[in-house]
Amino acid sequence: MSEVATAYEVNGIVAQHDEEGYLTDIGQWTPELALLIAKSEHIDMTDEHWEVVNFLRDYYEEYQIAPAVRILVKEMTKKYGKEKGDQKALYALFPYGPAKQACKIAGLPKPTGCV
């Protein structure tokens, strides 16, 4: 196995992550950490990225799981209109998938199963 970092470090805080970069302790998440994770995913965080990340975090706080893609699409359509809020637009923001990649940046666990 190649040497893979097992922790993020930002502002002197060390946050462990799993093999794929998902935070082990979601309580350690900070916006600065999100920027660092996004960088390792080659994503420059814009306002729209933050909109998604914040929505995921709010939803998670309420339901202990990330929202379904359809729910996320609906929310973004409400905010940005049909063109900038559809599934394709979300994939343009997070090429590896709004559920998995955005969850990683938001510090949330990876959705598992047939998804």
Binding site: Y63, I65, T112, C114
Partner: protein, 515 residues
Amino acid sequence: MAEAAPKFDPKAHVVGDPIEIPALACGAMAGSKPYVASSAHQQPLGFPGELVENWQEKAVARLGELVDNSRALRVYLDSCVKCGACTDKCHYFLGTGDPKNMPVARQDLLRKVYRRYFTLSGKLVPWLVGAEDLTKEVLDDWYSYFHQCSQCRRCSVFCPYGIDTAEISMAARDIMDTIGLGQKYSNEIIGKVFNIGNNLGLPPKALKATLAGLEEEIEEDTGVPVRLPLDEPGADILFVTPSADFFASPHMEGLIGYAKVMHEAGVKWTFSTYASEAANFGMFVGSQENMQKVALRIRKAAEDLGVKRLVFGECGHAWRVAYSFLDTLAGPFDFLDRDYPVPQHVCEFTYDLMQKGKLRFDKSKNDDFRLTFHDSCNVARASRMGDKPGGQFEIPRAILRATCNHFYDMAPETIGEKTLCCGGGGGLLTDELMDVRIKGAQPRMRALRDVADEHGVTHMAAICAICKAQFSKILPQYGFDMEAIVSVHQMVSNAILLTGSRQAEEYDAQQKPAS
């Protein structure tokens, strides 16, 4: 490896004969391995947390137990004559060229160990009969190559001895779990079913909110209050579906279709939070105990809710478990109404209503879809639908033809009982296996490219949550639209004319001659 292999460019490989035999690439996929399960994911399933010290001894003992308990497995291990009929039938071999992905070679990773320890010739003259000690190198090969088999059983169709290769992969994975070398993806998920009730880890509150949101959406769209009931006492039907239907796309679009059909049928039905999962990854890891524990949840939910019928949503291997094993695992289901199939597939349910003339469709609503159908491996080769042989092929196609004007099948050697796996089945639908998933999908992608070029096919429908998730990821790699994969009941949802809906009114107004 000394030299890195050139990167595989799917778009450069999408045109060609889907089942073209590749040039051999020895050892090309030896590095493909899923993440190993940690003790947190092993122990809830009753497996050791990490590789045990005397793993060799334990593995051989476990293999002995398995062949003692399963006459079938022993016959599969004894009877191969190396005729070669299966060599070029595996999509992972076709996509990777790695000879260890030839089904016969993959099976031999286990067979040679079986011979060494359980046959007389293997004990006495191992070098003459291809028998080998279970070494660390062999175990590494097991971990790598038994996780490059989706247990799709296409190779078994061509085996003159009827060897069920999936059973051999399952046995190998069972042995690895027993010695503490489990696969993270499947085992973490099975643990979630025990803890939360589904693969996704979707808690009841979230499930309830999701279903309520869909009810609102459907009513907004149709004007009809279609319900998606949860844990509803007094329901006649328990509807069990993969939890991906509550989360991913195009799965959820299919879920909306089920609800509309149930509404139009006028039946009392419900989902269950306790059995909010149709999938049963216990089968993938070859663990009878875990498969049974998952299956018993469905029985308990059916009993607790007092339902009379059991209907399954679009999930390939769940239908295999339900159709072929449910009675053995969790039966007898003598408390259910025997006037209906136990269990029933949602496609059978919908088809039955169609036959009775109870569903109306406006096919033109699907005119943007020029469709083909991907037979999912577990439905195609391990189950049936309806009351005629081949019903599992005919019924989903009949539904698509009834709801869409444009339907074209892919090449005959790539569909029906010879269907190609999506490349993500059998517990391989995990991101670290993306390379083998992409390459394993190549035969299917070529077959799709063919009908796209010849008939202008734009979309492919499927009735399996894994196929849908796999294709959403893989299609763009091969130059297709990620939304080119659809649910069968998504097509039903688009075209159905619910009684009293806006769509039905508009349709009927168009049918009337202008006065």
